[in-house]
């Protein structure tokens, strides 16, 4: 397992690089305001369609959530993008027993109210245009192990161009009042509802 590495200079460099990259490549990154509970950590669950989603949510965290950013990513991605470990990236290998350590590590991070852990429960990249999502079950272990120490937030990100050459990213956020999900099916259903509602809002935009 690859753990996040602390290095203030590298962390600053990664954040500056992501800031520069998003400013350069996007017309806008839009998100709605939600109430953050400062006494608890944040478990952020999001749809996974690109490496952009991590960068976009890193910026949303910087602007709105203001927690110590951590992201669970596939070991293959962590090896391909080694700089992400300086921005809180840690790996998971779905085909190894080491997977339990990654899930435990995520739950442990959530015990600190200053932390945010971003997880993509789809487990791999899917199109940004899908209507139905399917979650892998690992995340439920994180939720059970972290108990009530965290605030659960759903994020659904959609990319559009419309009349711009540069894309606009719209991040639909929702704070989930009750995070006591016992099964992956219950969690998936709750997220799906948020995703479908967000998608409907996205479709309403006409230029």
């Amino acid at each position: 397992m690859i753990y996040p590495k602390k290095n203030r200079l590298f962390k600053w460099m990664v954040h500056t690089y992501v800031y520069w990259l998003t400013i350069r490549q996007f017309k806008e990154i839009n998100f709605n305001a939600i109430t953050i509970d400062n006494s608890r950590s944040v478990l952020l669950i999001a749809n996974h369609f690109s490496i952009w989603d991590t960068f976009i949510l890193l910026r949303v965290n910087h602007k709105l959530l203001k927690k110590k950013f951590h992201v669970m990513m596939l070991e293959s991605t962590a090896l391909k993008e080694p700089f992400l470990k300086y921005a809180g990236g840690f790996s998971i290998n779905k085909k190894s027993r080491d997977m339990v350590n990654s899930l435990d590590f995520a739950a442990e991070l959530l015990r600190d109210p200053n932390n945010l852990v971003l997880i993509f429960p789809q487990g791999k990249l899917y199109s940004n245009l899908i209507t139905e999502l399917e979650f892998e079950k690992g995340i439920i272990q994180v939720i059970k192990k972290a108990a009530d120490n965290f605030q659960l937030i759903f994020a659904a990100t959609f990319m559009e161009n419309f009349d711009n050459l540069k894309p606009v990213a719209n991040v639909h956020l929702a704070a989930v009042p009750d995070s006591n999900f016992n099964t992956i099916a219950d969690l998936q259903q709750a997220y799906q509802q948020h995703y479908t509602n967000s998608r409907q809002q996205q479709i309403q935009i006409v230029k």
Partner: protein, 91 residues
């Protein structure tokens, strides 16, 4: 000739294509043989920072042989299929 029959910019995430009436008038006035092709362009990123555009093309039939309602139905059926195919698109 390229025509965007929606008449305005609509989200890339839409599942329904509203075809405006103008295309009906245009098709009626075509004198020679003309094939109508629906091009569904879907943008995705996957592993890349740069976007990829995937064109899903469909032969809607020959102008004069397909009614407006049938054309709208064919476009929408194909659009739904293109969105489904996009899930398994090679990237």
């Amino acid at each position: 000739m390229v025509v965007f029959p929606q008449g305005q910019l609509i989200s890339n995430h839409t599942t329904e294509i509203v075809v405006e009436k103008g295309i009906e008038r245009l098709i009626k006035n075509i004198k020679g043989p003309c094939q109508i092709v629906y091009s569904c362009a879907l943008i995705d990123y996957f592993e890349s920072l740069k976007p990829s555009v995937f064109f899903h093309l469909y032969d809607c039939g020959i102008a004069g042989e397909v009614s407006f309602n049938e054309l709208t139905a064919r476009i929408n059926d194909f659009h739904q299929q293109a969105l489904k195919d996009q899930i398994n698109v090679a990237h």
